[in-house]
């Protein structure tokens, strides 16, 4: 594959990937490829991939459908949950429309209750996720993965073999390695690109259905970025920021913009969409594929876990690798678990690593952009 375009064009192309996939998904559907719509990084993508199904993310990030959602759901609920439900209800999301099965997990309270109503619009399967990453929890999640496999087999009249799962694990691991190589380029100081551009690629990649091809493209982008870096094409030196907390795609990407418009650069995303969903590989040596998947996925450090040691562990590792100058913790409005966790994360960041920390609560609307800009500008002036 030859990549001749300029980097800004490539970033834009990835940013457009979600829209482009609307057409892609239609042609997959016409070819008879089953489509599984998912909401969460705890979802073991390898299982549907093993039967050749396409997996699409249904987490919505726009405030467009929130008024419709609020007719059924309380107002003071997380915007991600309201937006996702709203898109399903109004049939405005083509991914939801084309999904043959929608899968949720019992993560936060808001999401698991929302899935109960989502079942009015679509076939919904909810995987039971344990509250803690204990041995019993892992056994339980392993059984849930097997149960989910059976649901797929019955619904689509197929047999999913362990060899197929093993092959899917390998394929996804290769994609994870490619994405990791990409975001680890941000260890360079000065940074090679804006965090906004990195996030476009990371987010866009989740909407590429051909994972082999996607990995190749990402490697080619990495080569290109490295070559340009050698030639001196990189950002000027800027304060380096780590983002952690709730996802920052779509409407919440205003946080990335507020940081970078005011002179900072987001060098690492610890949250979903960034390292949280990519960093750890599935153990390819484990003869028990279900156990390997359960261990890898359950280990994700989301605040719906109690306690949540994986988040601290990953944050510590990333702080040492990427050497950020400060940490910004994003909380989507009414996301109680991430909100409660801010005090623990603040102590961890300021006491263990002596880095400035800021938490901010926001939603998908544009109403707080002025305040966000002032806060981020003041935070960056402080560094």
């Amino acid at each position: 594959m030859e990549l001749i375009k300029d980097l800004p064009e490539i970033y834009e192309e990835f940013a457009e990937q979600r829209k482009k996939s609307f057409l892609g998904i239609k042609s997959l559907k016409e070819k008879g490829v089953p489509i599984v719509g998912v909401f969460c990084t705890y979802f073991p993508q390898e299982i549907p991939a093993a039967m050749g199904a396409a997996v699409v993310g249904l987490c919505s990030t726009s405030d467009e459908t929130i008024p419709d959602a609020e007719k059924d759901l309380p107002r003071n609920l997380c915007p991600l949950i309201k937006s996702s439900y709203g898109f399903a209800k109004t049939d405005k999301c083509p991914f939801f429309y084309f999904s043959d099965l929608v899968v949720g997990e019992t993560t936060c309270d808001g999401k698991k209750k929302m899935y109960e109503y989502l079942a009015n619009f679509k076939p919904v399967h909810v995987m039971e996720l344990p509250n803690r990453q204990s041995e019993d929890g892992c056994t339980m999640y392993k059984n849930e993965i097997i149960r989910f496999k059976k649901v797929l087999e019955e619904k689509f009249k197929v047999i999913i073999t362990e060899d197929q799962i093993r092959a899917a694990i390998k394929e996804r691991n290769r994609e994870r390695e490619a994405l990791k190589r990409l975001y680890k380029l941000m260890k360079k100081d000065p940074a090679p690109m804006l965090g906004d551009d990195l996030y476009k690629v990371l987010y866009g990649a989740t909407f590429k259905f051909d994972k082999k091809q996607s990995a190749l493209e990402i490697y080619a982008i990495c080569d290109k970025i490295e070559k340009e870096y050698e030639e001196g094409n990189h950002l000027e030196k800027r304060p380096r920021i780590m983002i952690t907390g709730s996802p920052v795609s779509g409407g919440a990407s205003k946080v990335i913009k507020a940081i970078e418009d005011n002179g900072g650069v987001v060098v690492v995303f610890e949250n979903c969409g960034g390292a949280k969903s990519v960093e750890e590989l599935v153990d390819e040596q484990n003869p028990d594929v279900y156990e390997a998947l359960a261990k890898r996925y359950l280990n994700i450090g989301c605040s719906c876990m109690s306690p949540n040691p994986s988040r601290y562990k990953l944050m510590g590792q990333l702080i040492e690798e990427f050497r950020p100058d400060a940490v910004v913790d994003v909380v989507l409005q009414a996301c109680h678990t991430y909100n409660v966790e801010t005090i623990g994360i603040k102590r961890f960041v300021t006491e263990t690593y002596h880095l400035p920390y800021m938490s901010l609560e926001t939603d998908y609307s544009v109403s707080d952009i002025g305040q966000l800009n002032t806060r981020m500008a003041a935070f960056l002036e402080m560094l």
């Binding site: 305040q371 002032t374 806060r375 003041a378 935070f379 002036e381 402080m382």
Partner: protein, 249 residues
């Protein structure tokens, strides 16, 4: 060498002309519906004898074309407050539409800050509205509440508080008691908000409300820390901007 700092706040626009050691002149005008005009009025009045560097701050900081630099009100308030009183470690600013608490390190730089910018409760706007409903001039607030007992206030929402004031008046509650009750409610709320950070040392109180002794005294009561202010405290943001501007010269 003269530097100019202009703070475009939601209620008033403040300007400070600084010669590197002393304040040469100060000006405060109300911020109109067109904040750019208020900024230009202050700029014109203070720059007539020439100025070498101008920094704008406050929520309208992006609107002054003549500004050489724009800096947020957090950094400027901290610097201005520390210039007025070098012994302070905390700045609490109650402005027209928001409220902020700033923690300073030993070098008197910003170490941490909090902003309550989501609603007008507990800000200058709230007090303005309250005094209007009580039919008393804002500037008389210190004497208005003298010797009064704070009425118990349940609503802190600017919109709902008005109806609460009306019903308290209808029940025959003394207007001074109501005003004092509201002042206590605001100071209590501001203290809780600021105490999310570990406060220690002297507190400096800035913003439009800092000129009223009752607020300083009540804040002190709730914070359990010494609260200082200064006759120029309302200008802290503009002073900070002017001081920072003079350092770039």
């Amino acid at each position: 060498m003269l530097s100019l700092g202009i703070d475009s706040g939601s209620t008033t626009t403040k300007g400070i002309l600084f010669d590197g050691t002393e304040i040469v002149s100060a000006l405060l005008v109300p911020t109109t519906a067109r904040p750019k005009e208020s900024l230009n009025t202050v700029y014109k009045a203070l720059s007539q004898n020439g100025v070498d560097f101008t920094i704008s701050t406050g929520y309208g900081r992006g609107l002054l074309e003549q500004a050489d630099k724009k800096i947020t009100e957090i950094t400027c308030h901290a610097r201005g407050a520390a210039w007025l009183n070098p012994s302070i470690r905390v700045v609490i600013d109650i402005g027209g539409q928001d409220c902020k608490a700033i923690l300073l390190n030993e070098q008197r730089q910003v170490a941490d800050f909090l902003m309550n910018d989501k609603c007008a409760a507990g800000t200058g706007r709230f007090i303005e509205m309250m005094m209007r409903t009580l039919d008393a001039p804002l500037d008389s607030i210190d004497t208005f509440v003298q010797g009064k007992k704070p009425a118990s206030i349940s609503s802190m929402c600017t919109v709902f508080a008005e109806s609460e004031i009306v019903s308290l008046l209808a029940e025959g509650e003394d207007a001074g008691n109501i005003a004092l009750g509201m002042i206590h409610a605001i100071c209590k709320r501001t203290s809780f908000f600021a105490q999310k950070m570990n406060l220690e040392g002297k507190v400096f109180f800035t913003g439009g409300l800092s000129k009223y002794e009752i607020f300083r005294k009540t804040l002190e009561e709730y914070l359990q820390l010494e609260v200082h202010t200064h006759q120029m405290a309302q200008y802290a943001g503009a002073i900070g901007a002017a001081v920072i501007a003079s350092e770039t010269l």
